[in-house]
């Protein structure tokens, strides 16, 4: 299958994402933020970083990039999209995922491995996980405190849209295991249709035990498996 990695000015995990899917034997291209037309991709990756310097708010400017119009169309036609860290923030600002991101409650940039509980393994992004599986994937962010109003949270729960929660090594999701103040320990969510995922942790940084964890591979392996099963339409 073929991945497209979006590159905004200030993206800094684009190379890592490109490497991660290449490592798994997949084709991959970079897509520059000025590109308004592209075709032939089975999955788009919005990588981490500081798009447009994170000016105003993380993701606020990137969402109006020329490339985003096509990304929205791609999402509407069922294409698979994963936004990681800043990519997640852009998807929220663009309204492709519900909610908003606030500054970490500690006011600190947090860069470390965290434990995540897999709350829904029935998605195109988590089919290689077992339900409730605890995985270790690093976070690196300053604005990762997920927020949604009560009504939105209710809808997220009703549709099983909460995919990952921060937890202890044994899968306890109580508040004290939340690194950033995120509502109900939310680390990753998907849209109602299940083709757009946003997550703060960086799976592309957890591709090898040598790097501390290889649990991130499962995210990309899930996408590949889903694509082989015909999930996520190609935009052609």
């Amino acid at each position: 299958m073929k991945f497209g990695v979006l590159v905004f000015p200030g993206s800094n995990c684009d190379t890592d994402c490109h490497w991660a899917v290449s490592e798994l034997g997949q084709e991959v291209d970079y897509i520059w933020h000025h590109q308004t037309d592209f075709n032939g991709y089975d999955c788009l990756i919005l990588p981490g970083g500081f798009s447009y310097g994170d000016f105003l708010r993380s993701g606020a400017i990137a969402r109006f990039s020329p490339v985003m119009k096509k990304v929205k169309q791609y999402a509407q036609t069922g294409g698979l999209i994963i936004g990681i860290c800043n990519g997640f923030q852009i998807l929220l600002e663009a309204g492709l995922l519900p909610g908003a991101m606030k500054r970490n409650d500690s006011l600190k940039f947090i860069c470390r491995h965290v434990n995540l509980k897999t709350e829904n393994n029935q998605t195109s992004f988590t089919n290689k996980f077992t339900h409730g599986q605890v995985v270790s994937i690093p976070i690196a962010h300053n604005e990762g405190s997920y927020f949604a109003d009560e009504a939105t949270l209710k809808v997220l729960k009703e549709n099983n849209q909460i995919i990952f929660r921060y937890c202890s090594e044994t899968g306890n999701t109580s508040e004290k295991y939340c690194p950033n103040g995120a509502l109900e320990n939310i680390a990753g969510i998907c849209n109602k249709e299940g083709n757009v995922l946003g997550m703060m942790p960086h799976p592309e940084r957890a591709m090898s035990d040598m790097l501390g964890s290889s649990d991130g591979r499962m995210v990309f392996e899930s996408i590949i498996a889903a694509s082989l099963q015909g999930r996520g339409k190609r935009d052609e």
Binding site: A100, K102, S106, L107, F147, D149, G181
Partner: protein, 78 residues
């Protein structure tokens, strides 16, 4: 040409850790009479045209503030 000011603040009820930290710092300086300190953004701009109020509303809603977590207030001078 009009001068406009846009004030962006976190919605009431949304935790503002930055505001809390600054409030605590003021208290450490002895200003124990301070409470409810909130930090926001203050944007100034010049704007031309007849429809500035409506346009500023749109700008604030679309880009300057994130209506999920922030409120905004617009002031137009002249």
């Amino acid at each position: 040409m009009a001068k406009a000011k846009v004030f962006v603040t976190l919605k009431e009820g949304i935790l503002d850790p930055q505001g809390q930290t600054v409030e605590n710092a003021l208290k450490n300086l002895g200003y124990n009479n301070v409470s409810n300190l909130r930090i926001g953004k203050y944007i100034t701009l010049d704007i031309e045209g007849d429809n500035t109020k409506k346009e500023l509303e749109e700008m604030s809603h679309k880009l300057l503030a994130n209506p999920i977590i922030e409120d905004y207030q617009i002031e137009i001078e002249g």
